[in-house]
């Protein structure tokens, strides 16, 4: 098979369309950010901090600038506006309380290992590298804050003027203490998650140049082309003098949501006039790129004798690292999701995120909603054991349903298909036998909820342009970044479905902030939901315009006009008018044959920094239930995942294969989080700076992952789809924890479940038994 086409007939939406981008990628034809080059291009590199916390006494660049081929070394004082103000990136204006600042280049103090201090521009990579080595930085080391528990102590060194408390959320619904006092069973535990790296295969990269009319044009791997505005502010330029293009991106997962190379490329172009390329090494990426927040959670959960939740008290402390970035928002997701997909009348949540001298934490797939799954699901399993109820049964008794209100005050508007997902998973095969003596197998389940779409008070919107060309082909223009999930190809399917044009005759231009309608960030599981709705709307408006023209030509009512691959026809068959003829007719009567449309998400009342605030936070949620079989080696503690089934209600699968791809990929990432991955710091020094130290799963560790895709027909995306990019990453860790307990009776609450931790817990249990 080659070329784009639909499989097995049928309509385009819902079919396993071959992705146009995959055909290019599999031949090595795709030009990723680092693959681009320009004549007279410079090479840029960053001098980064060796210390996690230090005062910069002196930066000496003369020797570096004297190296043959080095054009210039920039430090903080060279940057027109050295402060990066992070709003929530994308379509919005200021959101006040969530504004966070960091520096483009470190000024007086460095606050994490790898923080950029100086920027080198040179004629060659070798010259740039030599310059990095020749820059002399004198530091006065400062005490390192590396324990979030102690960051809030009175005598802790303060990392920012505002203190070490970065953000906090507190809410109480009902009376948690009274509820716990009356509960038939109360379980309590502390859960800890670790720092995680995105570890996309494509390191951060980009090329920039000064284009016509002085527009600084940056072609970089990013999830957010709207960062053109942030670069403009740094360069002290009007917004419309910076243009950001993103080619197909080699993986994002939230790690290319904050800016990476963009400001540095902009600075070199603005201050030298030369084109420039910057590519981060894997070591730089692993050392200095944002991580997933490490979180400590304390849960006290109470239920009545039937296992129905009566009260929950949750205390969340997350390590935000050295700069705020998106930590406050990540913590909002943790707060919103802290009780899980369960009804509970009395809930108290205290969530705090603090500054430390660790690499700043920010967005990563699951975005605060996934860490808490280890807590709320661990508690459900504990309650099930305490009360002697089957773990799936106790969940069934507590699932939220349409019309219920989450503790934060959001009413659930769409159907919650968790009972059906549990049914589908509980009918699965018998569990496997252990492969030998001193080996034990176990099965675990976990459920979750995860929002899709941005917080509604950000007033999110997406725009898309669709037009016919004179030869009857179709063009979509939309600034969507495609980070590998099939963001672009799904839009082709939607347009093709409505307008009849075969997918291979649709061309899509993506990821350009100047020439394409803005459509917002490829983050927050929002792109199919938002851009999909924008394309759907544009396609429908275009169809309406052309159907009127076709009705005249066919001499039928407009609603009887059918759009097919060859053109328009009467719905009962008969004559087909080719698109070329239709377009000529449309042009002759000035009927639009291209349309710009905007889809707007539901609007909401902004969050107030007030404990009594309640309301709708997100457009909607996606729910899932996963099951895993593991085998534990009781002597080594090695955990092998034998089989994995992941079920989600996706509303409608626009491309079922892409849906499975999102589920399987997220499960693999979740299993890495469960079993092997961790960013390790020692007094703020990152010790996991290569892929030989930071261990993402290989094909050998991964089990066969089966997706159970339920289509409820309810969701807020096009064709009632729900988002699926992030949701499947939540359940794997708690499911594995439950399976390990089922296999050998140990309760693990600290990620990752490494062989050392597993075998230590087994030994402790066996010693206790022997004693």
């Amino acid at each position: 098979m080659s070329g784009v086409g639909t499989k097995a007939g049928g309509r385009v939406v819902g079919s396993e369309l071959d992705r146009h981008d995959a055909i290019e990628k599999v031949q090595g034809r795709t030009s990723y950010a680092a693959d681009h080059a320009l004549p007279r291009m410079l090479h840029a590199m960053l001098k980064r901090s060796d210390y996690a916390h230090a005062r910069i006494e002196r930066v000496e660049v003369a020797a570096a600038e004297a190296i043959d081929g080095v054009i210039r070394v920039f430090t903080a004082s060279d940057v027109p506006q050295n402060t990066v103000w992070v709003d929530v990136p994308g379509q919005t204006l200021e959101v006040g309380a969530l504004k966070a600042r960091s520096n483009v280049l470190a000024d007086e103090v460095v606050r994490y290992h790898g923080e950029p201090i100086a920027l080198v521009a040179a004629e060659s990579e070798d010259a740039a590298l030599a310059a990095i080595d020749a820059i002399v930085v004198e530091y006065e080391p400062l005490p390192v804050v590396d324990d979030p528990e102690h960051a809030l102590d009175d005598d802790a060194p303060q990392l920012h003027e505002s203190g070490n408390l970065l953000a906090h959320w507190e809410l109480e619904e009902g009376d948690a203490e009274a509820g716990l006092a009356q509960a038939a069973a109360v379980v309590e535990d502390e859960y800890r998650t670790q720092f995680i790296d995105h570890a996309y295969l494509e390191p951060e990269a980009g090329v920039a140049w000064r284009d016509t009319d002085g527009v600084i044009t940056i072609r970089a791997a990013t999830q957010v082309v709207e960062h053109f505005r942030d670069v403009a502010r740094i360069l002290d330029l009007p917004d419309n003098k910076v243009r950001l293009i993103t080619p197909y991106v080699g993986g994002g997962f939230g790690g290319k949501e904050d800016m990476t190379v963009e400001p540095y490329l902009g600075i070199v172009v603005a201050l030298t006039g030369r084109p420039v390329r910057m590519v981060w090494s894997r070591q730089e990426s692993l050392t200095a790129r944002q991580n997933r927040h490490a979180v400590r959670m304390r849960y006290r959960t109470g239920a009545d004798a039937d296992g129905r939740l009566v009260a929950m008290d949750v205390d969340i402390l997350s390590d935000g690292g050295a700069y705020a970035l998106l930590s406050a928002l990540v913590l909002l997701y943790s707060t919103t999701c802290a009780a899980g997909p369960y009804r509970c009348p009395n809930v108290k949540i205290r969530a705090r995120t603090v500054y430390t001298n660790h690499t700043p934490c920010s967005a990563m797939r699951g975005f605060g909603g996934m860490q808490v799954a280890l807590g709320y699901e661990g508690q459900m399993d504990r309650l099930a054991r305490e009360l002697g109820i089957d773990p799936l049964e106790i969940r069934r008794r507590n699932f939220v349903k349409r019309g219920d209100t989450l503790p934060i005050g959001q009413e659930l508007e769409t159907v919650v298909e968790l009972p059906a997902l549990v049914d589908a998973l509980s009918e699965r095969a018998d569990r496997p036998e252990p492969s030998g003596p001193r080996r034990a197998v176990g099965r675990g389940y976990a459920c979750n909820l995860q929002p899709y779409g941005r917080c509604i008070w950000l007033n999110d919107w997406s725009s898309a342009w669709i037009g016919f060309e004179l030869d009857g082909t179709l063009t979509i223009r939309i600034a969507v970044p495609d980070i590998g999930g099939g963001q672009a190809s799904s839009l082709i399917q939607i347009a093709s479905e409505i307008l009849g044009v075969a997918p291979e005759r649709v061309s899509i231009h993506i990821g350009d902030s100047a020439l394409n309608p803005l459509t917002g960030t490829t983050t927050a599981t929002r792109q199919l939901y938002m851009s999909g709705n924008a394309v759907l709307k544009a396609a429908q408006e275009l169809r309406e315009s052309l159907a009127g023209v076709a009705a005249g030509l066919l001499e039928v009512d407009a609603e009887r006009v059918e759009f097919g691959p060859d053109g328009v026809s009467e719905s009962d068959g008969g004559r087909t008018i080719p698109f070329t003829e239709l377009l000529a007719a449309a042009a002759s009567v000035n009927a639009p044959w291209h349309v710009l449309a905007t889809h707007r998400a539901p609007k909401g009342v902004p969050w107030q920094a007030d404990e009594s605030w309640r309301g709708r936070v997100f457009p909607d949620f996606t729910y899932g239930c996963h099951a895993v079989d593991v085998e534990v080696d009781l002597d080594t503690g090695q955990v092998q995942v034998l089989r994995y089934v992941a079920g989600h209600d996706v509303g409608k699968a626009i491309n079922p294969q892409s849906v499975e791809g999102q589920i399987e990929g997220a499960v693999a990432m979740g299993l890495g989080y469960a079993l092997s991955e961790r960013v390790v710091f020692e007094e703020g020094q990152n010790l996991t700076t290569t892929f030989a130290q930071y261990l993402i799963p290989t094909a050998v560790e991964m089990p066969a992952i089966e997706s159970v895709v339920l289509e409820s027909g309810e969701g807020m995306g096009p064709f009632n789809a729900r988002g699926i990019g992030e949701p499947p990453i939540g359940p794997p860790a708690p499911a594995v924890a439950a399976a390990i307990h089922d296999a050998c009776g140990i309760t693990l609450t600290q990620l990752p479940f490494t062989p050392e931790r597993v075998v230590t817990a087994i030994s402790a249990g066996e010693d206790a038994d022997a004693g």
């Binding site: 055909i23 031949q27 990723y32 680092a34 570890a199 993986g251 892929f691 089966e706 159970v708």
Partner: protein, 185 residues
Amino acid sequence: MTVEFTLNGAPQRLEVPPHWTLLRMLRDAAGRTDAKHGCGEGVCGACAVLVDGVAMNSCSVLAPQVEGASVETVAGLADGDELHPLQAEMVGRGAVQCGFCTPGMVLSALEAVRVGAAGSEEEIRHSLAGNLCRCTGYGKIIAAVAAYRDGGGAGEVATEQGAAGHRDSDGGEGAAPAPGVGIGP
């Protein structure tokens, strides 16, 4: 120094500093960007190419080491616009997402099938252990490789190389994980 080798069948004569890696020579001297720089330390496999038929991480091979060798990259596999059968299986089975690991993955898989190291699902998994993918969870890649093998990929090339019979007796089983099961609301 001068390095002479063939790249996807075409003779090359390139001037490069002797400390350059094969990856850097391909990208910066030959202008070919289909081998990807993922880690630069021989772990991720995104830069894998075939050197005399053997998959190697080109970031860990010095340019002069391929003097006289035949180097194949993923760009050389398709026949014009007609995809190589393994490439077609990768596309058709949804094994390509961000695509950054894909060139190295395809070449490692091709070598595995050619030398008979893709007989079972487990063998395929071990053959691809040096190629990291962060997007797919590997299942659809394994399925694509198994389908290519079963579609004659192994036989075709095995005959060429006189290596028929290397496949495991249990290798006929589809290695694909079960497809998603739709259930009604």
